[in-house]
Symmetry: C2
Subunit: 336 residues, 2 copies
């Protein structure tokens, strides 16, 4: 009888999840009940947000219980169905977890992957949580208008790279902040930023001043920390800050200190707004279709970093926080 | 020949303006040119915002030059006019400065005081910068809806007390934060807050938790500092922070540190927005008329603290930051 390899949560990290916080087990092949589907996963997602999902603190979602399968979006094929909603052979994106097979209710499905001319892996990246977050957060919180200067942190990452390109499509000047000369080159060559700044090099403030001579009108922030402190000082009047991630902050327990922002917020009449995609799931499909069209037209580039084998899941999150990955990180399952 | 007593700026404060930063002189009675008016001031305003106007740092207005008359809104009567826009006897509110007489162009006038059934002093407080700031900042940035819990810092102050009452008129639960038992009583008795918390007493966090069992939906912030840090931790999902003042921060040079806000902003999907009334002067008159109607109907209370004599101007700002004043602070000119 075939087994179902699963990645279980073995401990609760106080900061960034490490390999020891997970355990790989051979589970039993699941069986489905009435109304359920059996999905064979093809790609598992690896997200910076998983840190928050695992944290034992107030977050936007319930913490994952110790001993349960690691929560993850995946793309997989329906291999058995006891619901009229989905048929065998359907390719689905949904909350099927870090495991080979998932027996699940229909409400775990986010969307049916209909862009069959494109790789199904894209449903987890540029057409998935990352791309849709980039598009909706930029439009709803950043509210860019043509001619604006838009600064993006983690500019080469899977959210940031989409933000930079979408802002460019909307007629903005784009300034990416990333780590190291290799990523600076990717920002300029692959993602079309007008300027790309290396936060690891000295002189970030001077570089920001030069790249944003009139100040930045939108700051799409995936880092917080010292990078954001510097950008805040270079915002234009009435600028919008999209607070979408905190990749530069190793731990929020205890809450780290930084320069108080209230005076800048007031005197420059800034708006700082948080964004979590799960508030906007009813717009997910429409946003994904817009992104797919840009991909087909060659207007929206992306990078994927595909790692083979479920045994690579446990160490896959920590690498994201080291800034060592290039593109959307996915685990491709070996038996597929 | 009559003289014109004036308060000049004698030095630039690094923090809160003190008496030594001003000098009182006997200026010459000014004469007006074509298109100008001569105004005899009746009431001079004293504002916390004057700290920012005097600061030699980027602010929302040009710093006041050393040696010039202190910038202030005042209420005064036209005693000579060489413009068809205003007639002798008109009562005006405008930028006429800390002085007895002002010869000025028409563009220094904010509005003609038309609510002649009410004291002209109100044009500088509940119907002036303070009340209009309260109303427009609350509506535009706070966006309260009936049933929301609205927390207000400097709750007994001239902005905060109007915010609390307007929020109540809009159907909200109101929680005021103020300093000391006397102001707590004023909040409850005069300004109708549902709860009033003393930040000088121990247990502010517990008091906030008790007063906002479902979290606060709007925080109207006039203080920043430790009070705001505590309120931020008790906000509901999707809450709005109106960043309108920083009374608790003695100096912004260097910028003080505090707990980083990005994780709260993101995970609770908060919006933090700065407000400066000078962006909205085209709405000033309409807002002032709405406030006047509430005052006439007895729905909007206010307190004034009127000090007689221009010689009291130099020390009048610093007191505001000690939390020692009760109500809108005004200087009434002796000869009037």
């Amino acid at each position: 009888m075939p087994s179902n390899k699963q990645v279980l949560v073995a401990g609760r990290p106080s900061g960034i999840p490490q390999p020891e916080h997970f355990e790989i087990v051979d589970g039993e092949m699941p069986t489905i009940g009435e109304g359920q589907i059996l999905v064979r996963n093809q790609y598992l997602s690896v997200e910076p947000a998983m840190r928050g999902w695992l944290a034992d603190q107030s977050n936007y979602s319930q913490p994952i219980e110790i001993g349960s399968v690691m929560r993850s979006l995946t793309v997989g094929e329906v291999i058995e169905s006891r619901t009229p909603d989905f048929a065998v052979g359907d390719m689905l994106m949904g909350w099927f977890g870090w495991q080979e097979f998932a027996a699940t209710d229909a409400d775990a499905v986010i969307r049916k992957v209909t862009d069959t001319d494109l790789s199904p892996s894209l449903a987890l990246g540029v057409l998935g949580l990352n791309g849709v977050t980039a598009l909706l957060a930029l439009e709803k919180v950043g509210r860019p208008v043509a001619g604006d200067t838009v600064v993006v942190s983690t500019a080469a990452g899977s959210v940031g790279s989409a933000v930079g390109q979408i802002a460019k499509l909307l007629g903005c000047q784009t300034v990416g902040i990333t780590g190291g000369p290799e990523k600076v080159a990717i920002c300029l060559d692959d993602f079309g930023y007008d300027a790309a700044l290396d936060y690891k090099a000295p002189g970030l403030e001077e570089a920001l001043a030069a790249a944003c001579p009139h100040g930045a009108n939108v700051y799409f922030d995936n880092t917080a920390g010292a990078i954001s402190d510097a950008v805040y000082r270079h915002l234009a009047l009435h600028a919008r800050i999209v607070t979408c991630g905190t990749a530069s902050v190793a731990s929020w327990d205890p809450v780290p200190t930084g320069p108080r922002v209230e005076r800048l917020i007031m005197t420059k009449r800034l708006t700082m707004g948080g964004f979590v995609i799960f508030d906007h799931m009813n717009e997910f499909d429409a946003a994904s279709r817009r992104l797919a069209q840009w991909v087909r037209e060659g207007k929206l580039s992306y990078r994927e970093e595909i790692i083979d084998g479920i045994e690579n899941c446990p160490g896959a999150i920590a690498d994201l926080y080291k800034g060592q990955n290039f593109g959307k990180r996915l685990i491709r399952l070996a038996r597929f």
